[in-house]
């Protein structure tokens, strides 16, 4: 289902965007863990990243080898242009819906 963005996918995309240059597996995981106070499994995270890559919303490159990871390099992710458009579309859709639903959704009764 190309173009469809799941809730978790959107979350991951936004996280990667907000992590700027430092978006790799562990940093994304800890960021989400801390903000959403839920523990996501590394397998699920990477699966989602893989799906996003396949949809063309993410691009990636291998970094330099690092000491603290047993000499292994990190793979850094970046949101692509299509990814950004998809996020914007999602946001627009939500905004529209919020405007339309604002009356009902008002917390002050």
């Amino acid at each position: 289902m190309k173009g469809y963005l799941g809730e978790f996918e959107e979350l991951v995309l936004l996280t990667i965007a907000s992590l700027l240059d430092n978006a790799y597996g562990v940093s994304i995981k800890t960021y989400i863990d801390e903000r959403t106070s839920r523990s996501i499994s590394i397998g699920a995270l990477h699966s989602t990243i893989t799906r996003l890559e396949e949809k063309g919303y993410l691009s990636s490159h291998l970094g330099e080898p690092t000491q603290e990871r047993g000499g292994r390099s990190k793979r850094f992710y970046e949101v692509t242009q299509t990814g950004k458009i998809a996020l914007h579309q999602m946001k627009n859709l939500r905004d529209d819906l919020w405007v339309a639903a604002s009356h009902n959704l008002s917390l002050t009764k």
Partner: protein, 877 residues
């Protein structure tokens, strides 16, 4: 951070093993980084547990699965690159060209093995295209009858003759019903000519249901009136030549004069309805009215009547089923004869279930399956030989595979390459196989009567099936070598340390295969030899009457007395007798005989003869006397055989004379003579009760006793005399010896068939053995050379090389001989009551034949190796 604590090594190992070639550096790094951060927060055990957990979560993740898949399809190692195809092709061709001997053997063996399968494919394709020319075939059904006799509940393709009319009149949900009576058999006379004709009586609806086009005439009206007939173009050509047949009158007794109202296009060979002529059904009814023919409208007679019907489009056959059930319940009262009707779609007739009274050629699934299995018996050994030979051959090619792999060839590519090679050889084999197929096809047509009605001329569909079959066999036969070679590790291949797989497990497998093949070959040889012996035995059997110098002439329409007068004048004819049947052959009539002391009458075989018969055939009268010249008294008397004396409890032969019996429940006869037992019927059946009657009306044959001087002259004389009798028929005369020969010619068919299968099996087995021996020896040339240099004698070396294979032949013999012996000992008795048991001579001959073949194959190779100059092979490296 404590650097000395490392992530669990087992988990790492598992992870890396699982990931194979996929690039997982980043993932692995991530888990390790998480592990170290965990170490700061949790205990070591907990951190390690979490590490395991993460490894597993990755192993089962989509991410890893995708990475692995991508690794396999990496652009630099895509599985099937078409660029490589010409290369594979070239390598295959070069490889075949390089090993001409083995390639030739292989392809020849495969071609032989496949030829039989091709025949089978042609047959199957033909059978499955039966009746496919009827445009309404999906809506055409036939009514079949199952008789419930509590014994074998036979199913008949035919029905009582009135069922069709009942279906037509009392049931409304059917578009068309057509009744067929397949009794239009006889001789059609036109002017001077007489032609045997076979056909059906049927209704005009026939043409609305089936697609049998007319060449001339109107299909709507052609069969309307009584006494109209349609004939096929082929028959028309035979009877009328180039004359227009329409309007001509054919006389077919007993149906009378029939006017030709049209000409049918010839019936396609794949039609289950086969006829040379169609006459109007009303002919039957009108001749039945005139009492010319018995109207067998009985509900217990299923002879010759068939009902087909056409359902309207989109309607179900259930209603018909219910109606037929109702009819059956109605006609067959509870405590009487029980039968039920059911319907059979046209598409299920051929191939379909086995039925009695089939209207045309029938093929059931079981016999197709059996033929298929027979072809497999030949095909599988041929393929397994191919696999063996190609594996052993390709061992020389491990370097090539090594290089391919080093250059980036993937396992799948190597696999594909070998499959392609096999398929290529298979296609070449198919080419040769086609010639064999053409050869067998001709033989097959000659051999089996059924084959006559088959059209196996290869057309596009059959050829496509052939190619598909070759490709399928190619892939199947190619899998084993391809799997084996694609598995070879490049390092071993390049260092030439690929072990010959034969050492471990393949050699026993190969030996078993060869042993089975030789056992099978021996089986076929033995079967043929035993059958030949059986044939000879039957031909020379003493039937208990004179077999030599008897010429049987069919009387046809000539009166016996006239015949006797005219032929009696011939000098060469010593004596003439008359009979209703020919002795010693399968068909003798039966009559019911009742003895006044018993309740039931018994069916007893009988032949009607004249007073000269017993003397003519040299039968021995034990008691009583022969028939006399007085026909009125002959009609009241019978002569019985010894067996009948016993089975009717008539004490002994002498006291049997004068006893009376009831014939066919209405005619009282007395016994005037007892003859010694003789074989009145074929050797397949035991001698049972038998009696002679004497009724000139039943005479069908004249038996001329004439010393054999010059067959040709004699026959010419007979023919001339026959012509003088003024008969409309041609003379039909045959020597008794020839007729006996004909009667047992089925042995010949069996011998030919098995002989052919045997020949195939032996050839395939020999090719396999030759290839294996040659290969094994080829691998041991150096060893042989060294042995010879060290002083081993040629005989010693030959023995050493041949030992394994001799053992194999021995095992095949030891296993097969008893199996075949017991099989035939039981089979022969069932086939023929008076049969010769399997003797040592037959076993000896068969084993000898096999030994000659096997030993020639083995020694031809081993002697060559043993006699080679050791220097030639020692020098090679």
């Amino acid at each position: 951070m404590k650097p000395e604590i490392k992530p669990p090594r087992l988990a790492d190992g598992l992870f890396l093993w699982f990931c194979e070639r996929a690039s997982v550096e980043d993932l692995h790094g991530d888990v390790e980084e998480l592990f170290y951060s965990d170490l700061e927060k949790y205990s070591v055990v907990r951190a390690k547990l979490k590490y395991w957990q993460r490894i597993f979560s990755l192993i089962f993740s989509y991410a890893l699965r995708q990475r692995k898949r991508r690794a396999a399809y990496h652009p630099y190692s895509s599985t099937l690159s078409f660029v490589m195809l010409p290369n594979y092709f070239k390598t295959s061709v070069r490889n075949l060209a390089k090993n001409k001997f083995y390639a030739g053997l292989n392809i020849f063996g495969l071609a032989l093995g496949m030829s039989l399968s091709l025949l089978f494919i042609a047959i199957t394709v033909f059978i499955y295209r039966y009746d496919n020319f009827h445009t309404k075939r999906d809506r055409i059904y036939r009514v079949i009858t199952q008789v419930h006799d509590d014994v074998n509940n036979p199913i008949y393709a035919s029905t009582p003759s009135d069922l069709g009319f009942i279906l037509e009149d009392e049931f409304s949900g059917i578009e068309k019903v057509v009744s067929i009576r397949a009794s239009l058999n006889g001789e059609a006379a036109y002017e001077e000519k007489k032609m045997p004709i076979n056909g059906y009586f049927t209704e005009p609806e026939f043409f609305e249901v089936f697609d049998f086009p007319l060449a001339k005439g109107n299909s709507a009206t052609a069969l309307k009136d009584p006494n109209s007939i349609l004939i096929t173009e082929k028959e028309a050509e035979k009877i009328f030549g180039s004359k227009d047949p329409i309007g001509e009158v054919l006389t077919i007794p007993p149906f009378g004069e029939l006017t030709v109202t049209g000409v049918l296009k010839d019936v396609p060979k794949n039609s289950h309805l086969t006829f040379g002529a169609l006459a109007s059904y009303s002919t039957l009814q009108s001749s039945a009215k005139n009492n010319q023919l018995p109207n067998d409208a009985s509900w217990t007679s299923f002879l010759n009547s068939y009902v087909y019907f056409l359902l309207p489009e989109g309607s179900s056959s259930d209603a018909v089923d219910r109606f037929l059930k109702h009819v059956a319940d109605d006609r067959y009262p509870k405590d009487g004869f029980q039968a039920s009707f059911s319907i059979q779609p046209l598409n299920d007739i051929v191939p379909g279930i086995e039925v009695y009274n089939a209207i045309g050629p029938s093929w059931d699934h079981l016999s197709i399956l059996l033929v298929g299995l027979t072809t497999l018996v030949i095909l599988i050994p041929a393929c397994s030989n191919y696999v063996n030979l190609s594996i052993s051959q390709s061992l020389k090619r491990t370097k090539e595979i090594g290089v391919r792999k080093v250059m980036g060839g993937q396992r799948r590519q190597i696999f594909f390459q070998f499959i392609m090679e096999t398929t290529l050889s298979m296609l070449i084999a198919l080419f040769f196989s086609y010639f064999f197929f053409e050869l067998i096809r001709g033989e097959f047509h000659k051999m089996l009567a059924e084959a006559d009605s088959m059209d196996m001329t290869p057309d596009l569909v059959i050829l496509v099936c052939f190619v598909l079959f070759a490709l399928l066999v190619g892939v199947l036969a190619g899998i084993v070598p391809a799997l084996y070679f694609s598995k070879i590790k490049p390092i071993n291949a390049l260092k030439s340390t690929v072990t010959i797989p034969t050492r471990k497990f393949r050699l026993p497998g190969r030996k078993i295969m060869l042993t089975v093949q030789y056992a099978m070959s021996l089986g076929f040889i033995m079967a043929v030899v035993i059958m030949l012996q059986q044939y000879r035995y039957s031909m020379n059997y003493d039937f208990g009457f004179r077999q030599e110098n008897i010429l049987d002439v069919a009387l046809q329409d000539v009166k016996p007395q006239l015949f006797r007068n005219e032929f009696g004048k011939l000098a060469t004819v010593q004596s003439i007798s008359m009979s209703s049947n020919i002795l010693g052959l399968d068909y003798s009539a039966e009559k019911f005989v009742k003895d006044d002391r018993r309740q039931d009458s018994v069916a007893v075989a009988t032949i009607s003869i004249d007073e000269n018969f017993i003397g003519n055939f040299g039968l021995q009268l034990i008691a009583g006397e022969n028939f006399g010249a007085d026909q009125a008294s002959n009609a009241r008397h019978i002569i019985i055989n010894e067996e009948m004396v016993k089975s009717f409890d008539l004490d002994d032969s002498f006291s049997a004379i004068g006893k009376t019996l009831l014939l066919n429940d209405n005619k009282e006869v007395s016994i005037i003579g007892v003859v010694k037992n003789f074989h009145y019927t074929s050797l397949r059946k035991p001698i049972g009760s038998f009696f002679f009657t004497s009724d000139p009306n039943e005479f069908q044959y004249a038996n001329l006793s004439m010393p054999l001087t010059n067959r040709f002259d004699d026959l010419t004389k007979i023919e001339n005399t026959w012509k003088a009798l003024g008969s409309n028929h041609k003379v039909k005369a045959q020597y008794f010896e020839d007729e006996i020969g004909d009667a047992y010619s089925f042995y010949f068919v069996v011998i030919k068939l098995w002989g052919f299968l045997g020949l195939l099996a032996i050839t395939v087995a020999s090719i396999g053995l030759l290839g294996t021996v040659a290969f094994t020896i080829g691998n041991r040339l150096k060893e042989v050379s060294i042995r010879k240099v060290m002083g081993a004698s040629t005989e010693r070396v030959v023995f050493m090389l041949s030992r394994d294979f001799l053992m194999l032949l021995l095992i095949a013999t030891v296993v097969t001989v008893p199996v075949i012996y017991f099989l035939f000992s039981t089979l022969l008795v069932q086939m023929q009551y008076y049969s010769i048991s399997v003797g040592f001579a037959e076993i000896g001959i068969s084993v000898f034949l096999l030994a000659v073949l096997g030993l020639t194959t083995i020694f031809s190779q081993t002697f060559r190796a043993a006699n080679a100059n050791p220097v030639d092979h020692m020098r090679s490296d």
